[in-house]
């Protein structure tokens, strides 16, 4: 963009001012500040168009597709809510949903708990070691989920990794990280490894914004760092904690990459292991795009409702306290 372009912008206020000779600055300002109804909308317009093209239209299209079904005998025909009735009575989808919910109920609190403890530690301890910890904990965030899953897959495996045979050193049986009983834990560890540092940094940044005056009195009164952390700092960053929780919930409901990669190590990860994996396989393995659209729409809707309810409840609680 050449330098002259922005200056000759098509904004309305480049027009010469109306020939009113004496005008107090404050009056002129007030008129000018509210005088650009179009400029603001124009700034938002490009973003708005992308939202329409890649959010509104796909959602609408998915909903439209989900209203019909295709079969060899009858071709494509309108079936209304049939696909949704099928979805909510489909044991594969319900199993997948239950699995993801159980996974989240354990993994999310563990991960956010560690992240919060780490953030509080970083806020209180300012040694070089703490800085190193902060940097290293964050690194996994920059590692693609595919690579993270591959890495842990190798580390879990008996041929490549150091961990599976550890019990053998004391005469025990090797650990099978891909067995039915350990699989969810193994997956949870991959996700925890990848996202704890990221959440820790978010919470740490929020802690840095807490004014010191809020706990100076407590320090003088002889409160321990742990007391200050739990009674003053944690309540002060409640908003940031719930924001991190919402994003984690949204991410967990979409669980796809790690189980899809891990399926190469653990064949019992089925086509419907998670709802998202199921929607993908309905489309690309079974070519049932109508049902896949219904699954995508259902999943999107469920996540949306859960997340929005979470925000709503949280806002109300925040407003009351």
């Amino acid at each position: 963009m050449t330098r002259s372009v922005p200056i000759t912008a098509p904004a309305a206020d480049d027009l010469p001012p109306s020939p009113r000779p004496v005008e107090s600055p404050s009056r002129r300002r007030r008129r000018r500040v509210t005088a650009h109804p179009v400029a603001g909308a124009l700034f938002v317009l490009p973003f708005f168009l992308v939202v329409v093209a890649f959010l509104v239209v796909p959602l609408g299209y998915a909903f439209w597709l989900s209203q019909s079904s295709k079969s060899l005998a009858l071709g494509t025909r309108f079936t209304g809510i049939d696909n949704y009735v099928r979805a909510f009575t489909d044991p594969v989808l319900l199993d997948g949903l239950l699995r993801v919910v159980l996974f989240g109920l354990v993994q999310i609190p563990v991960m956010l708990g560690i992240a919060l403890a780490g953030a509080l530690t970083l806020d209180a301890v300012t040694t070089k070691f703490a800085v190193a910890f902060r940097l290293i904990a964050f690194m996994p965030y920059a590692v693609p989920a595919v690579v993270g899953a591959l890495m842990w897959g190798f580390l879990y495996s008996r041929t490549f990794g150091p961990f599976a045979d550890l019990p053998a050193l004391v005469g025990g049986d090797p650990i099978d990280f891909f067995s039915a009983s350990l699989l969810l834990v193994s997956l949870g560890n991959i996700v925890t490894w990848a996202w704890t540092g990221y959440n820790m940094i978010i919470l740490y940044s929020a802690l840095q914004g807490v004014p010191r005056e809020m706990y100076e009195a407590a320090v003088i009164d002889g409160a321990t760092p742990v007391q200050i952390a739990l009674r003053v700092k944690v309540p002060a960053i409640r908003q940031a904690i719930s924001l991190a929780a919402i994003f984690t919930v949204i991410g967990t409901m979409q669980f796809f990459t790690e189980p899809q990669i891990m399926a190469r190590f653990a064949p019992q990860i089925s086509a419907g292991y998670t709802p998202n994996l199921y929607a993908y396989n309905q489309a690309f393995a079974y070519s049932d795009f109508n049902y896949s659209a219904a699954l995508s729409f259902t999943l999107g809707f469920l996540v949306f409702v859960v997340a929005y309810a979470f925000v709503f409840v949280n806002r109300r609680r925040g407003a009351r306290s």
Partner: protein, 287 residues
């Protein structure tokens, strides 16, 4: 509170340091494994101790990496950088303009749009991928780079973060003063607001860069030509072949070395730029 202070202070800080040490080990060991494993040939990868070096084979691995399948890894690397760079630039520009427009103007429908924006953040991106694929295949642009780049431009959280940041750090008075001096709205945005928004923009840029660089689901769905794959999809195809064809082709060492090279640019970028993105991330976290 530093460790060099009085006795009871050091007593109080040894526990956090031990815990942080455990954390460092946990986060670092898998990365160390990749670095070490990337220096091994495939036979050593299978037979030598996992967390220690065997014969140094890194250069051979890199050479094989870039020549396997007609040098397709180089294409994946370029594709990844191109998709991620374009998406991040575009998403940041859109978020900058939209966030600024929402924070500093009033116009018809703004309230509604802001409420909707919060809802958009809650829409899971992967639920949009399959329908978007179906639409783009009607339009005949699946299996092109645009099928990956265009959907990646959507970043409601980016717009939200910029909006919050502008609210806090671009004073209305400054914009008003510029208007009194009869600066055009685009010029005010470009020359006054943009420099003040920089931390938020770096944050949005880096986070969309990572999101696209690391994205797997979207390119997996959209692309079918191996030449168009990004690293994530390409490496998994090699990994599949390596498992099915372990006897005949040496690919595990390439998957590992390729993984290492896929990680390095982003880790370096984040560590070097952390002073910029941290202040931006804080703005989003506070609201």
């Amino acid at each position: 509170m530093t460790s060099g202070a009085a006795g009871n202070t050091t007593a109080r800080t040894w526990l956090p340091h031990v815990l942080m040490g455990a954390g460092i080990l946990y986060f670092l060991v898998p990365l160390l494994w990749v670095v070490i494993a990337a220096t091994k040939s495939q036979p050593d990868l299978l037979d030598s101790p996992a967390l220690w070096f065997a014969d140094f084979n890194l250069l051979e691995n890199i050479e094989q990496l870039f020549s396997e399948d007609g040098g397709v890894y180089g294409a994946w690397l370029v594709n990844t950088a191109l998709y991620a760079g374009l998406s991040a630039l575009g998403a940041t520009a859109l978020a900058a303009a939209a966030g600024y427009g929402l924070a500093r103007f009033s116009f018809m429908g703004k309230r509604f749009f802001e409420t909707a924006l919060l809802g958009m953040i809650m829409v899971p991106a992967t639920a949009l991928v399959l329908p978007t694929y179906l639409i783009l295949s009607e339009l005949d642009i699946v299996n092109t780079m645009w099928a990956v780049v265009l959907p990646s431009l959507l970043s409601p959280f980016g717009a939200y973060l910029v909006r919050v940041y502008v609210d806090e750090s671009v004073p209305v008075e400054l914009i008003d003063a510029a208007r009194i001096d009869r600066a055009g709205e685009l010029r005010i945005f470009w020359q006054i607001a943009m420099p003040m928004m920089r931390p938020a923009l770096v944050t949005v840029f880096l986070f969309t860069l990572v999101a696209t660089w690391n994205n797997y689901f979207l390119p997996l769905v959209m692309l079918s030509d191996a030449d168009l794959y990004p690293l994530t999809v390409g490496l998994t195809t090699w990994f599949n072949t390596a498992q099915q064809d372990a006897g005949n082709r040496m690919l595990f060492n390439l998957v590992v070395t390729g993984s290492l090279l896929a990680i390095v640019p982003l880790v370096v970028a984040f560590v070097l730029l952390q002073r910029f993105w941290r202040s931006g991330a804080a703005a989003g976290a506070l609201k």
